[in-house]
Amino acid sequence: MKAARKASQRRSRLVVSLFAVVMAMLAITAPGAASADEVGTDEYDFVFSGNVKYNSEPLEDVLIKVSGNGYENEVVTDAEGKWKIGVPEKDKYTITIDESTLPKGVIVADDEANGASKEAEFGLTGNKTVNFFLGEGVRNVTSFGDQLLERIVNGLNFGLMLALAAIGASLVFGTTGLSNFAHGELVTLGAVFTLVLGVFNQWPLLLAIPVAVLLSGAVGLGLDAALWRPLRKRGTGLTQLLIVSIGLSLALRYLIQFFIGGNIYQLPGSSDTKINLFGSVSLSVVDMVSMGVSIVVLLAVAWWLTRTRIGKATRAISDNPSLAAASGINVNGVVRIVWVVSAALAGLAGILWAFFIPGIKWDMGGGFLLLIFAAITLGGLGTAFGAAIGSLIVGLLVEVSTLWIPSDLKYLGALAVLIVVLLVRPQGLLGRKERIG
């Protein structure tokens, strides 16, 4: 971790020097910025500004109007497409772009409801940048079908990585009866291990990712050996175990923050350019590899559960622990393997998710945990294949619902499904009725 901290210090120094370079460049270009067409900026302290561009070409002589609070003014953009308007009060104003002054075939493509107008408000400072997205002619929005297709592909990608984590949590629940609230932190840990190895220590990603998955598995092994196994031996009740997992989740979450701080980190390659596959569907190479890896790993887990001895033993224990133990299955041994597999899968899900969001933050697992729970409940508590199906549905729901609801509410649908499922079919899709007790 010391090396990691050193690396991050080195990086922050780099960031500082980069910042200085940018500031210097700004200072040189400052006269250009000052020549932006300005109205009322001398009279008033609060200034709206913007830059009108279409296909990165600045547009000159575009009329911008500001109105609100009994104040009205207008400005025309300069040769660089820039404009500034001063307003008397720190309040909400409507800013309109006059579409008739735009070149032919160019319109404002922001939001169909508001058209060429925008409501703008100042934040903490007296300056606010207001930009409009300009699009081409009439066909500026992708058709509903295309958007739906794009969302579905994204949703499948998300659902697949959710399935990795959910199957693990579901196996743990099936074999030990524990709803593991620390599973979200195992997801974060996978991403953080990759960050530490691949970014702080600059290992190649193809090496860093497998090692991170192995490390996650080792964490699972360690947790079982140091915590869960002794507790099982003591005969600690399930409710107690559940709260222990919450304590563990808190401790791990803040331990991660202790080491990586509150920043958002990026893995290399997470913002690659997207390649257009067909229609409106474009995926980056990372997205495609991520989906491929998820599918292969999920199939491998399915094969392991249905074809191998230990996999069969796992399902037997999920079905009836006492009977499994009585028929000679080493329950503790199987549970240990389940913990390793579950933690490794969670770690892998975390790595893929870090590419998907993109970003790594110390508390990223918290939100993911709730989606895991939603997926498991939807599929049926304790059934591994139910968890996989539930994950795909939740993944699709989260992405597709953004067509109708704002994206900052996209997890809402998944969580609401959780409650609806419990109302209508509490045992889940594949669960059996007697499990719900």
Binding site: S179, L231, R234, T236, G237, L238, T239, Q240, L242, I243, V244, I246, G247, L248, S249, L250, A251, L252, R253, Y254, L255, Q257, F258, G261, G262, G366, G367, L370, F373, A374, T377, P406, D408, L409, Y411, L412, L415, A416, L418, I419, L422, L423, P426, I436, G437
Partner: protein, 325 residues
């Protein structure tokens, strides 16, 4: 290190509005978990409803401050009913999962841009204090001694909070001695046995969920009284801190949650004062920012150890262990 300042700051947390608010919410959690055996992991949602119910009814609808508190309590009641109907007939861990998800839904709804007009989204709400401060009977000035010197408004928040806490504790004390409380404790111990006696277990659980939820909302109101309502506060960590407080004091005790909250926040404040100083003096090999995080790691470890080694809490009776199954 300036030990005088450390002790001064720490002592202030004995009666800080945060301590009082957490104590009120923890009493609500005791009604849920300690007496009813309900695994509610959505207390942050109840607190958020109380705080936002109070702030929004004052700011957007111009209601008087006391009506704002009632609105918060009503919101919590509705929330408890929505949560309870699908889950109270099911096994306990379903309630745990649903409540934590529902609390997150509440937080998302208060954070989103969609209702910006009412909630001011991620920036939160402030400036709703006029009504409450107007009702302050204390004349202007600074009162107190030693570490407890506050202005009239700061005292008013504290006194009002302690009054609510006292009422809430009294209600729990009386209820748990009553037949209603005995039935509720019976449900915690053995649901089927109580059902066999002809009691409507579902109704009792629902009443417990609503009552504890309303206490949670009151905690949220007191939490919002001195400063502002910010959605980022009402995350799952808040709920987990409340659980730590509850289990520290003793889940099935009257004063456990109150004492738990005081101990929790005094220790937290002490660490918050001492650790950064130790880091600054190079006694601990960590940075200042890391020093601020360490205490939260302790909370997690403490919760884990309490549940394993002393599940009845400091004041709890081993016989009234709430972890039955």
């Amino acid at each position: 290190m300036d030990w005088g300042a450390v002790l001064n700051n720490t002592a202030g947390w004995l009666i800080s509005p945060t301590t009082i608010a957490y104590a009120i919410a923890a009493v609500g959690l005791a009604v849920h978990f300690g007496y009813g055996g309900l695994l509610n992991f959505g207390m942050a949602g109840f607190m958020a409803l109380g705080a936002y119910g109070y702030a929004i009814s004052i700011l957007s609808f111009g209601l008087p401050w006391w009506a704002g508190i009632i609105v918060g309590m009503l919101a919590a009641t509705v929330f408890a009913l929505i949560l309870g109907i699908p889950t109270l007939r099911l096994r306990a861990d379903y309630l745990a999962i649903v409540t934590i998800a529902a609390a997150e839904i509440v937080r998302l709804l208060f954070t989103t841009q969609v209702f910006d007009e009412f909630t001011n989204s991620a920036d939160g709400l402030g400036g709703y204090h006029a009504g409450f401060r107007g009702a302050n009977p204390i004349p202007e000035g600074t009162y107190g001694f030693g570490p407890w010197q506050y202005t009239e408004n700061q005292w008013w928040v504290r006194i009002f909070g302690i009054l609510i806490l006292a009422v809430v504790v009294l209600i729990v004390f009386l209820l748990m001695r009553s037949p209603w409380g005995r039935v509720l404790k019976g449900i915690r111990e053995d649901e089927d046995a109580v059902r066999a006696l002809g009691k409507n277990v579902f109704a009792y659980k629902m009443q417990s969920l609503v009552l504890g939820g309303v206490f949670g909302a009151l905690g949220g109101v007191v939490f919002a009284l001195p400063s502002a309502v910010v959605p980022a506060v009402y995350v799952t960590s808040l709920t987990f801190f409340l659980w730590t407080i509850l289990l520290l004091g003793g889940a099935a005790t009257i004063f456990g949650p109150v004492v738990g909250s005081v101990i929790f926040w005094v220790i937290m404040a002490f660490l918050d004062n001492v650790l950064p100083q130790l880091a600054a003096d190079d006694i601990l090999p960590i940075s200042n920012i890391q020093a601020a995080v360490v205490r939260y790691i302790f909370v997690g470890v403490a919760l884990l150890l309490i549940v394993i080694f002393r599940p009845q809490g400091i004041f709890g009776n081993k016989k009234e262990l709430t972890f039955v199954k």
